[in-house]
Amino acid sequence: MTYNSILYIFLFLPVVLLSYQLVPKHHRPKVLLLASYVFFYSISGKLLVYLLFSTLAIHYIGLWLSYSRKEYSDRKEHPVNEQTADDKKALKAAYTRKNRGILWFGIGIQLSMLLILKYSDFFGGNINQLLKLVSSPVLLPAFKFALPIGISFYTLQAISYLVDIYYQKIEADDNLGKLALYMAFFPLLMEGPICRYSQTAGTLYEGKPLEYKNVTFGMQRVLWGLFKKLIIADRLNMLVVTVFDKPDHYSGITIIVAAILYTFQLYADFSGCIDITIGTGEMFGVTIPENFKQPFFSKSASEFWRRWHITLGAWLKDYIFYPISLTKFVKNLGKSSRAKYGKHMGQIIPSSIALFGVWICNGLWHGTGWNYIFFGIYYFVLILLGNIFEPLIQTVAESLKINRNSGIYSALQTVKTLLIIFTGELFFRADDLGTGMRMFGSIFTGFHFNTLTNGSLLKLGLSLGDFIVVLFSLIIVLTVGILHEREISIREKIAGWNIALRWGFLYTVIVLVIIFGAYGGGYIPAKLIYAGF
């Protein structure tokens, strides 16, 4: 069962909504939790035990952290003997060490599960390659585990819960059910977004009754998600699969088209799924954070990542970038760099260490191939270079009297960013790094303009009709993006229309999704892309 399946839309979700509304308020979270476990089980079966273990682990470790802090506070406030300043310091240091130990123990459990289940095959394979190089008689045994759905997402949620308790942003919750629902809420399971405990747990457990506006607005958001997923993403999948499955058969403009269309596919797929997720949450009165903010309007790579998969970027900033930046080593490096190279490089050098950590984690989080690591390093280098050369670009622009706020300059920046994005996604989608490199190289070696006119683009799995449907759908997505950029709420506007117009509009969108959706006979079944990460 996936979010775009008829089973989810027309059976699972209505049954959960109805059950939720019919039971007394204090039982509603239980309905959501039960539905979440049924949903999880329907995809990953017995692997549900991993999620249960993760939940139990953070529950008890969170309480342990909380207890330890309370114990410290009691001993500080009510010492058995009179304490000197040194005693107090020693006590504080001892408890800091203890709490840090507990935190690392908790993080270690979560990370070990993720590393073993998701990465053992990749790391084991690479270590074996090295062992073969040195003619080692011993090789590591090959392990490949079945991955529970959403492990990459719920593990990050689990870690953020523990770290937030450690830094006293939240209190450990002694309500296991509430925590379990935070970890397992079914709309979040497949593709996130990555929520924080303080953001969602409260409203999830509140058991608010269904409200007409929430349900109708939620349904409209789900419909919009289906439009993007079924009409655009799943249709583009046919061309993308054709080219990326036989990369050596294509070159030049065909590769460029495939990279661009894959980027649009990924966006329509992921953001469409997030629309369904947020819409589902909205129906239950749960606010789920946005994960996209018109990413293709970005004017730089770093802005792109503030608009694309926002919750992953925010997580990496809070739990990788800042902790690395605050280590003694990086702080000292900052001081010495400022002294040696001045203020600008004094900021760049230490932050590049933290930035490197962020991008390696970003790459590895997406998958277990060298192309994903390359993808991370690619953005690290681009963003780092952008930071390094920013003062120089500013100086050149001023001396040439270029207005960096002008429309033309902004448009050129957007085009540059799009090129960066398309190139990155080419490597991201390729089977491996070598294939990505070959495909990228073949853009230049096999470039012929007549590819655009000789009809070869129509032999890649999409007919002219399909291209026209994609084009019109992308124009609609672009228009909606422009309206959102201007902070216009389309659903509020629609709610203001008279009933005939409103229903006519909704019927039209539903019929468009049913007729032009790329599902069933004649199409390749397309999985939710981010659910595989």
Partner: protein, 321 residues
Amino acid sequence: MQSKHIIKPILFFSGLFILLYGLSYLFLPYNSTGEGPYKKLNGILSAPKDTIDYITLGDSECSTSISPMELWNKHGYAGYNCGVPGQRLQDTYYLLQQILNNQSPKVVLLETNAFYRSFDYSNALQDAVDKAAQNIFPVYKYHNSWKYFNLGTLENIPKKPGHKIPRAYKGYQYNSVTKPYLDGPYVHKTDKIEPIDAQPLFYLNKIVDLCKERNIQLILYSAPTPLCWTYEKHNAADSFASKNNLTYIDLNLHAEKLKIDWARDTRDKGNHMNYYGAKKVTDYIGDYLSEHTDLTDRRGQKQYASWNTALKKYLKLTQVS
């Protein structure tokens, strides 16, 4: 919620129901049995009565591993690959029943991978909901007909021949993509048995009974697949075959004899055969059928003239590889 908040959704969904019901009439093709997702079934069901001498059954391991046209080319046996990706044995059983209404094959080759495709409630429910939606609103099934829709006549014109899955494949799922399998030997001799679940076993027995009843020679075979097959599974299939006096050919144990080149003969890193692998499997199975069954060479028979035309088309379609 107020009463208007209950009446409005009821009216909205009633309107939607009527709209989709009406649209369905526009989208139904002229001959609804010739289109849609049941092409394969239609392929063999549309074959003239009692002209098929053997069929192959199973899931994607079957549909990708035996090419009937290769068998026709070498031995002149008229057969059909009725493998359906993801098919469970219960569906295989009902498919066989349906095929036997119109055909009387002498041999049925049953691929064994589906022995381990246990019943999945979620998939079954998904299928049931899908089928219900297709029955109530055929537009859900035939929505793709917009590509052939004539606005002038408000009718759905039949697809052009070029858009159909070529009948020359006779059910075989052609694919020439190569993605090598590199992890070396995968069937390691053992006495252990991986038991077949009760549900697939129940339908397996029904298939055996049905073949006996219709006097059909049932042969079990396992297509080479490092990702799906193990010696434990081999032992279970072998034991089942012995108990029921059936022939069982495990090609995973004969990969060297077949000269399977795992760097070239698989389309997805050892999960399925590609065209090159299927040719080798088909060649082996063809020789076996030639030696151990009394199938007839139909190449010279007038009734089978279309098969020679199909062969030319098949050879052309597979020529690029």
